[in-house]
């Protein structure tokens, strides 16, 4: 068993002062190095907040966040992020969009000018990996939503971040495109084994991709349940038809329903 790469210990997060919204409270979880964890939970329970805390974009109000053995108190430059919205820069070609992080991350920035061809080759390889070979010279508007999201994934990966944070990256896509991208992500993960935290509200997606699924309570969010996903990789659409898979998804659904009922009682 490898050591915990991300340790979240009893974290609380309150937005906007003493009377503000309490988004997280008593939230604890660990993620091992190279592990793929999915976080599911009712909407508004603080999943995106959790992502911001782990990547150091906001300081936690209480508790500790430790990543790679270091307490997080400022943005870490070892994180790759992707969101529901691909947020590509419309004035840059796809290849240049993918290479944006290299112009920013201090370690790469210095070397980019000298080793440009090597870096470009890396970006092209990534594009190929996600099925966008030959699209490097196009502009984002020339690509479909699914292709833009693939690009966004490449941008999150180009600097080889040890930690990948994905906040509902596929939720704006139609179901066929989404399932294609599950396979793309699975392939990327199997090829590079980064530590991944995937936030999603699609329980099948969580079960398809993750080693472990964590369920969050409604706001203030904390982890209330955890399920290991036993299926061997590569998983395929056939996996999703297994009775065990269906049962797992049903269990997760029951947890979320309980969490939401909790919300109504309180």
């Amino acid at each position: 068993m490898s050591r915990a790469f991300v340790e979240i210990d009893n974290v609380a997060m309150r937005y906007g002062g003493v009377e503000g919204t309490l988004a997280l409270e008593g939230c604890s979880m660990n993620v091992a190095e190279g592990e793929f964890v999915a976080v599911v939970g009712p909407s508004g329970c603080g999943k995106s907040t959790l992502m911001r805390l782990v990547s150091g974009l906001w300081p936690a109000t209480d508790g500790n966040v430790v990543v790679a053995g270091r307490e997080v108190d400022e943005p870490l430059s070892l994180v790759g992020m992707a969101f529901q919205n691909p947020t590509l820069l419309p004035w840059r070609r796809i290849l240049d969009n993918v290479m944006l992080p290299l112009e920013v991350v201090p370690a790469h920035r210095a070397r980019l000018r000298r080793e440009r061809p090597a870096y470009e080759q890396k970006a092209l390889d990534l594009l190929k990996l996600v099925g966008l070979e030959g699209f490097g010279a196009k502009y984002p508007y020339q690509l479909s939503g699914g292709m833009q999201q693939r690009t966004s994934l490449c941008r999150a990966l180009i600097h080889e971040p040890p930690l990948l944070m994905l906040d509902e990256p596929f939720s704006a896509l139609d179901v066929f495109t989404r399932e294609d991208l599950w396979d793309v992500l699975q392939q990327v993960w199997m090829a590079r084994k980064p530590t991944v935290i995937l936030v999603t509200h699609d329980l099948r997606e969580a079960a398809y991709l993750a080693d472990r699924v964590l369920v969050m309570s409604s706001r203030p969010g904390r982890i209330i349940a955890e399920r290991k996903v036993p299926f061997p990789r590569p998983r395929t659409m056939e996996t999703t038809f297994l009775p065990e898979f269906t049962a797992l998804v049903a269990d997760l659904r029951a947890y979320i329903a309980a969490a939401r009922r909790g919300e109504e009682v309180v």
């Binding site: 430059s77 820069l89 419309p90 004035w91 992080p101 112009e103 920013v104 699209f135 508007y141 479909s144």
Partner: protein
């Protein structure tokens, strides 16, 4: 494809061509139509040139006074462009500062709005006291009047960077200045160029206002002098020259906009793309 489908496609293409041709010609038809109608009305009702000169009278005056018209136009063009150039520099710098810092925004914005609400024609006498009669009042009025639209647009472009994109970059260890350079500024460019079209036309108005209040040189002075001599056709010649220069400057600004920030409008065309495969 069937013959019927082919015929339809050809007919549709022809209709589209006709439509585009009409669009290209329409402004000219409207302009010449207006002048024609104007000439007709003046002649039909026997309106004296002193009240409303006919286009032919105006043309005659313009030919007769072509030298002062040209000299004064160039003078106005000069003060306009200098004032506008200063406004571009100042608007960009302050716009970036205001767009990227809430503190600067909160601190400066009320003052800037108050300043922008002051009618510039009221400032000209003060400028004359400070700088004397000469090119400076016109330049500074052009600057003052055109600086605000640039500033507001640049600030908007920079301030409205998507929070998620900001997060992506900050999570990579980007400093605020990186975010402005890589995202804020390029993103503000369409706003900036759109504002140039407005700014260049109002800069022109600013120059002419100053020239009319402090008649030293320029097309504004020419019109003041002409109207004091009751030479109404020449006043109109000046007005039309002004309009022509305004259109010209607008076109130049628009051309630069199209050349530099095509990406901002291209996304709505998108017809030149056939999905792979």
């Amino acid at each position: 494809m069937s013959a019927k489908a082919n015929a339809r496609l050809i007919a549709m293409a022809a209709a589209a061509r006709r439509h585009r041709r009409l669009q290209a010609w329409l402004p000219w038809i409207v302009i010449f139509g207006t002048f024609g109608l104007w000439e007709l009305v003046v002649r039909a009702f026997g309106i004296v040139p002193f009240i409303l000169p006919a286009p032919s009278d105006i043309f005659e005056a313009a030919v007769k006074w072509w030298k002062p018209l040209l000299d004064d136009s160039l003078q106005t063009l000069f003060t306009t462009l200098v004032g506008f150039g200063l406004a571009v520099v100042a608007g960009l710098l302050l716009g970036v500062a205001i767009g990227s810092s809430t503190l600067v925004y909160k601190g400066l914005y009320p003052l800037l709005i108050a300043f922008n609400s002051i009618p510039k024609v009221a400032v000209v006498p003060v400028l004359i006291v400070w700088f004397g009669i000469g090119v400076w009042p016109a330049i500074i009025t052009a600057f003052l009047i055109s600086f605000f639209p640039i500033l507001v647009n640049v600030a908007t472009g920079i301030a409205t960077v998507e929070p998620e994109l900001r997060d992506v970059l900050r999570a990579l260890g980007a400093r605020p200045v990186d975010i402005i350079r890589k995202v804020g500024l390029p993103r503000a460019m369409p706003y900036f160029f759109a504002s140039l079209k407005i700014a260049i036309t109002v800069a022109f108005v600013g120059s002419i206002i100053a020239e009319s209040v402090a008649p030293n040189a320029g097309i504004g002075r020419l019109m003041m002098v002409a109207s004091s001599r009751f030479d109404v056709p020449l006043v109109f010649a000046g007005l039309i020259t002004t309009g022509l220069m305004g259109i010209m400057l607008y076109w130049i600004a628009e051309w630069i906009e199209r050349r530099t920030t095509g990406w901002a409008t291209r996304s709505t065309e998108g017809s030149n793309f056939t999905p792979g495969g």
